[in-house]
């Protein structure tokens, strides 16, 4: 086995931050290498350096035994490196084929014109070679995330990549799609390709990788063989202390009904049906979980419940009152808290400081405003209290929201919403992108609320999270609530099948058209 990549004492400094601190990393050819670490550990930065997006402040990159000085991704591509970013780098309105050949378009007519036929053919050939199923003529914005990821991989392969870097490739996939991806890994390594992938998930790394490197605070804290380590060892390496891996909600007797959703349907922004005929209810002291792969209507469902989207059909009643057409504000005033999935877009005004962000949603409430005038001193006390109680760091109420890390932003939002003294908490992906410490904290607070008799609607694509916290668990697929299960008596595989749109009694419903996977 030869060495494909060797990173030698890489240090990368950003203004005010050392993202990578003297990192060594060796990846053998033809292997799968996992990179683990908490948020902000420097994983992405390290890989961006390998890909030529960033120049290291210190240290050298060796590929195939030669020291390289990449000025741009183009150089890295020439050296046979391909990278699939955490957020896909695809041009939405362009087709699959257009995206794959972007920057390397085959030309005709003396180079003046893109040879579209040849581009299509090359894409088809390539995807056949690796057994991918993609239609070159689909627009990216019309295909599923899984397909988009395959397009990204094809894009790298089209450029002759031998070394593939994938940044958190499994974050948005169903367990089945994850399995499929790992199968692709095997196919690729069998053909001599080298794979480096970033993950937060210990199990995946153990399962799919040959070697695992853990980063913490920008430093390499250890490289281990996947078959010689344990979850516990990895977790400790990542966090630097022992952690509680799986939250468990103790059973508890629920009280009165708080939220009742009946036959709810809603459309997405494009006017395409996104939620169809969903019914469930949540009672006091109960956590109702919603599991599903991102983009199966959870967002629209939550938006309808919280008043950000008008349902096309069905009704929502909250605390015994029909609120189907009630405004967002009236729901806030009525004690509905909401941790939105997108903290950058919705949860916080990035240009406002925490004092101002602390009253987002309460700007008209008598607590902070009288006669239309805001009491800024009360608002400041409020923000400082949240910062204090929810351990927001650094504790600067006057700093703009933008200047806080994702985890701290999330803690602030969680604090603000929990401090509303809500009757219902709608929490979507409350721990997305936050590190394990913060995750633990948020889980504890959610369970506290439950213990206080509040109702919680928890939406997450992290199966272990919803499974561990919920009293009842609804699984969504293509806008439908496939089933409501008892999370304590259901296996991950069963839930995974529901997420993929297959009902357990699949034999019985075989005749029906496969639900939804339109792509």
């Amino acid at each position: 086995m030869s060495t494909a990549v060797h990173l030698d004492e890489i240090t990368k400094r950003f203004p005010g931050v050392v993202a990578n601190d003297d990192v060594d990393l060796t990846v053998e050819r033809g292997t799968v290498h996992a990179l683990l670490g908490e948020n902000g550990a420097g994983k992405t930065t390290l890989m961006n350096i390998l890909y030529g997006l960033y120049e290291p402040t210190e240290g050298t990159v060796h590929v195939d035994g030669r020291a390289r000085d990449f000025d741009s991704p183009a150089d890295a591509i020439d050296a046979g490196i391909g990278m699939i970013h955490q957020h896909f780098m695809l041009v939405d309105p362009m087709t699959v084929a257009e995206n794959i050949v972007l920057g390397n378009e085959p030309r005709k007519w003396f180079g003046t014109t893109v040879d579209r036929e040849r581009a299509r053919q090359e894409v088809i050939d390539l995807s056949n070679r690796y057994g991918f199923d993609v239609d070159p003529d689909d627009a990216i914005e019309d295909v599923s995330v899984g397909v988009q990821q395959r397009v990204e991989i094809l894009k790298a392969l089209y450029r002759g990549a031998d070394i593939l870097i994938l940044d958190e490739p499994t974050a948005v996939l169903t367990p089945q799609e994850v399995e499929e991806l790992f199968r692709v890994f095997e196919e690729l390594t069998a053909q001599g390709k080298t794979i480096i992938f970033i993950s937060h998930k210990l199990g995946e790394a153990m399962h799919a990788a040959d070697d695992i490197t853990v980063l913490r605070n920008g430093k390499n804290v250890g490289t281990v063989k996947a078959d010689e380590t344990s979850n516990e060892e990895l977790a400790e390496l990542m966090v630097g202390r022992e952690v509680l891996l799986e939250p468990k909600a103790e059973p508890q007797e629920p009280g009165d009904e708080v939220l009742a959703v009946r036959n709810l349907s809603a459309e997405d922004n494009r006017g395409i049906p996104a939620v169809s005929d969903v019914s469930f209810d949540i009672r006091e002291g109960e956590v109702f979980g919603v599991a599903g792969v991102d983009g199966n209507g959870q967002s629209q469902l939550v938006e309808a419940i919280t008043g950000l989207r008008t349902p096309t059909e069905g009704s929502i009643s909250y605390k015994g009152r029909d609120v189907t057409d009630a405004s967002r504000r009236s729901r806030i005033d009525d004690g509905m808290a909401y941790i939105p999935e997108d903290r950058h877009e919705r949860g916080l005004v990035m240009d406002f400081d925490l004092v101002q962000n602390g009253i987002l949603g309460s700007q008209h409430s008598p607590t902070f405003a009288a006669d239309g005038r805001i009491h800024w001193s009360d608002a400041r006390d409020h923000a400082e209290r949240i910062i204090d109680e929810y351990d927001v760091r650094p504790p600067h109420a006057d700093a703009d929201a933008e200047s806080f890390s994702g985890g701290n932003q999330q803690k602030f939002i969680v604090g603000r919403e929990f401090e509303r003294e809500p009757d219902l908490v709608v929490a979507t992906h409350p721990t997305r992108g936050v590190d394990i410490g913060a995750m633990e904290f948020i889980h504890e607070r959610l369970l506290d609320l439950r213990a206080e008799g509040k109702a919680v609607l928890l939406v997450s694509s992290k199966l272990d999270e919803v499974q561990g916290l919920s009293d009842r668990l609804g699984v969504m697929h293509d806008g439908e609530l496939m089933d409501i299960v008892d999370p304590r008596n259901t296996t991950e595989e069963e839930i995974g099948l529901l997420m993929a749109g297959e009902r357990p009694d699949a034999d019985a419903t075989d005749a029906e058209p496969p639900v939804g996977d339109a792509k």
Binding site: Y51, L53, D71, M89, E105, V114, K155, R270
Partner: protein
């Protein structure tokens, strides 16, 4: 102008076009019907105006500056740089074209090139240089594009009349006594109505070439794809090894080039630069922005919209002269603007390139 609220509207795009085209067609049919039924009524007059060769040729001529500026706007904005300074580019090129011709001497020829064509190219060059300044400010110095665009407009709006006053003693230049003239294709120009297409200003022919050419460049060449990617998702382009800044510079310079043709054609078609008030450009650059938004960033659509505005203007000029009905001219002059409003109210949003107006940064500090 936040782009975050703008949805992906692929599905409605077709219906958008259909609505526009259908609307225009049905209005025309209605006029035709009424006109044929009551030939001596206002509708009859209107029909006669709309089907006259003179109106067509006027509409073509009037659409030249708007179309070129709109094409320029498309390239710039598709590449991710909102260019609200098109008006300024038209002004600066219109002025430079005339002053250069005047300095060279309108009757002179230099190496076989008549002075007026030297002026024409000088006008284009000035607009390219101006857009280069804009590009550097926006791309290198990450200026707010809208504000920088306004600045380009304001500078041109001050500079051209200023220079005219320095040189001529008044905000208007003298008349050159010569224009770009017309090119007439024999035989074809005798066709009724459509003959206007073959008996037109040189700039009209240029426009009729530039529109499909722009479409081709945007949709069929690698450069065009890079332009689109740069406006939709610059990082995607960057990560496949195409220099986003280069593409954006090219897009902005191209917008200067195209707008420059429009500006030169505008003033040299008349042989004079008028610098009063909003200058002779008088909002055409802004109408161009409306035109390409209206045409959904498609060069052909933008031309269609420009032609619609110009056609309304041409019809309006003729309608004014129809005796015996009492609508004040100023009211007729609002027709194009009201039309735009009504259509916008009915059709609503257009799809703006996702990353246009935003800076692109590789995110690293040492490159």
């Amino acid at each position: 102008m936040s782009t975050t609220t703008i949805d992906r509207l692929r599905d409605t795009e077709l219906s958008y076009r259909a609505t526009l085209a259908g609307g225009a067609l049905s209005v025309f049919l209605l006029i035709a019907l009424l006109g044929l039924a009551f030939p001596s009524s206002i509708w009859g007059n209107l029909l006669a105006i709309l089907t006259s060769r003179s109106t067509l040729s006027s509409a073509l001529r009037l659409s030249v500056p708007i179309t070129f500026a709109a094409l320029g706007g498309i390239f710039s904005e598709k590449a991710g740089v909102v260019n609200i300074g098109l008006e300024g580019l038209l002004i600066i090129s219109a002025f430079t074209a005339v002053i250069t011709t005047a300095v060279v001497g309108p009757e002179m020829t230099v190496v076989g090139l008549p002075a007026i064509w030297i002026g024409f190219f000088a006008g284009v060059l000035s607009s390219v240089l101006f857009s280069a300044l804009f590009a550097v400010v926006c791309i290198r110095f990450k200026a707010d594009q809208i504000i920088a665009g306004l600045a380009v407009w304001l500078i041109a709006l001050g500079l051209a009349p200023f220079a005219a006053t320095v040189y001529y003693g008044g905000v208007n230049t003298d008349n050159l006594g010569t224009t770009l003239g017309t090119w007439t294709v024999p035989v074809l120009s005798d066709i009724p109505f459509f003959g206007a297409l073959f008996d037109a200003d040189p700039a009209v022919y240029m426009m009729l070439v530039a529109v499909p050419a722009s479409w081709y460049v945007l949709n069929r060449t690698a450069f065009g794809r890079h332009v689109r990617a740069s406006g939709e998702n610059p990082k995607a382009l960057d990560t496949v090894g195409v220099d986003v800044s280069r593409v954006r510079y090219a897009g902005v310079l191209l917008s200067g080039f195209l707008a420059g043709i429009g500006g030169s054609a505008l003033s040299l078609g008349l042989g004079q630069f008028v610098g009063n008030n909003q200058t002779m450009v008088n909002g055409k650059g802004f109408i161009a922005i409306v035109a390409f938004l209206f045409g959904n960033y498609n060069p052909v659509g933008a031309f269609g919209a420009s032609f619609l505005f110009a056609g309304l203007e041409a019809a309006q000029i003729r309608l004014q002269q129809v005796p015996g009905y009492g609508v004040p001219d100023s009211l007729i002059q609002t027709i194009p603007y009201v039309t735009v409003l009504v259509v916008l109210a009915l059709v609503g949003r257009t799809r703006i390139p996702a990353a246009s107006g935003e800076h692109y940064d590789t995110g690293d500090d040492n490159r």
